[in-house]
Symmetry: C2
Subunit: 305 residues, 2 copies
């Protein structure tokens, strides 16, 4: 097989493809390994006459022109499994960072602008005993909830529909399904863990931010367009919510300049899945998809299209 | 009762002491509410002829001259329960911060020195699947372990002696007792969660840092004197360990100036118990101790001496 790549990926993740041509020119390739941050346009697809499979690196696939793939009968796969734990882990890290103010303290100690040490100085807020509201209770949301329960939090969630009894039974912890409005009005932490589709653009805007408690934190590790970033900046500046932590941005890689100035914000450069361990596992998952496709074993593929 | 304080503490935590004199002069006080960051010396104790009880705010009590208390027959209490969850929570936050590089990313995005967004940029390391070694498996260590297990970590621990079967049975997760050497040689994260006594000064020095894996992280939320800070700086600079996160310092409130310059370090201003929720709960625990002492109900007191 001739396999093209949009991005150079770690060699150790592709050892099972030895004997095939990696980093082939797109115009000769049967397979394209694309990454979630690289737009695969209709023009690219049409410049690749032999292309039959796109194996996207990442769980999201809004970087790919699926209509163009459909017209050409090109199969598309993703890597849903290895992204779950790293992304839930980062969401959980950001919850701690913003409530316990750890990034702010580290920065201010280095800059020399920190408050003095003292029993009543540098106070923050606990996660323990609080309510986490998860919007998008898929596998990442569930992995986040598992961590939060062990940290003494209660879980409420909102999805298009409640989780089935079978999934609930496997969770091993209690969760409660609520409306989006109830979630926003009662959660101490609101975490976005749903995939992006145009219908959920600005899922969190001015109206939703006003529903949240003034003591609540917003965490976004999903997709930037879920949040109206200008409305978020205004809510943070007015104290309508207590803080926000985000790994993704509406106009990525640009970050709203006001966010960079606010102390009640924690910013991360779209690195939810960005651990070495996670990257290698995602490469392995791409190999799984390519080899299963080669063997026509569609049951072993993570099929998007 | 006339009650003196070393530090002004939140009023809402002392409502059960209405009718008593709070913030009395020490020379008139029967009770002293001291805080863990304030040294209660022999001179102070001897200047307080009516003093019969010191209720320390915090779990540690190395700020108090216990010999002087013993000679005078002064009782000493602490607040072990409300510090457990906030401190374990901060240790867990710092583990994420240093391995997932969240404080570093936030700082560099604000300074404009961050690497560009990109699939193979800004990579970090997962906690998931790693081994956490806890030195000091008391209540805080156990609360940290509970969180780590739910985050996909294995737990090894070292104590003066292994936990009893009854405690092990109540944990609800698996832990393995190992020697200090095995812990240092095999853990991916080493967390210090033991109280300070002079015998454990520099528990982590040059020799111990060399035993650790070059990929391992050291987390200290216990007491600064546990770690030889100069040796730590050298180990970090030479890459003998991957990183360190600390809430406490050998010469507190001074921080070794080299630590402030290292990217593989996360620094926090001794705020393990420093949440508003934690502070109020600690005040309540001080009230419990004072009121139980007043009623001569020693079973309801957290007695240190």
């Amino acid at each position: 097989m001739k396999i093209a790549f949009t991005t150079i990926l770690p060699e150790e993740g592709f050892q099972r493809l030895q004997g095939h041509t990696l980093y082939a020119p797109l115009e000769e390739a049967e397979v394209l390994v694309s990454t979630f941050d690289y737009r695969v346009t209709r023009e690219m697809i049409n410049s690749a006459p032999y292309l039959r499979l796109i194996t996207n690196f990442g769980v999201g696939f809004n970087n790919i022109d699926l209509d163009a793939c459909r017209e050409r009968g090109i199969r598309v796969t993703n890597t849903p499994q290895p992204v779950i734990e790293p992304t839930a882990e980062l969401a959980f890290a950001l919850m701690h960072d913003v409530a316990r103010r750890t990034a702010e303290f580290d920065r201010k100690l280095r800059l020399g602008t920190a408050e003095a040490f003292g029993v009543m100085n540098n106070l923050s807020h606990s996660l323990y005993g609080k309510t986490l509201g998860i919007i998008g209770m898929g596998r990442i949301g569930q992995a986040l909830a598992r961590r939060a329960v062990a940290s003494g939090m209660r879980i409420i969630y909102h999805n298009r529909k409640p989780l089935g009894d079978e999934i609930i039974g496997q969770l091993g912890y209690e969760v409660r399904y609520v409306s989006k409005e109830e979630l926003l009005q009662t959660a101490d932490f609101v975490s976005l863990n749903l995939p992006y589709t145009p219908e959920v653009k600005h899922l969190i805007g001015e109206k939703e931010l006003k529903m949240m408690k003034p003591t609540a934190y917003l965490i976004n590790t999903a997709r930037g367009a879920h949040v109206d970033e200008q409305a978020l900046v205004e809510a943070l500046q007015k104290g309508e919510i207590a803080g926000a932590a985000m790994d993704v941005y509406e106009h990525e890689p640009q970050i709203h300049p006001e966010l960079l100035t606010l102390d009640n914000v924690v910013l991360s450069p779209h690195t939810g899945t960005g651990t070495w361990e996670g990257r290698i596992a995602m490469c392995e998952n791409v190999c799984d998809n390519i080899l299963a496709w080669k063997q026509q074993d569609i049951n072993k593929m993570n099929i998007v299209l």
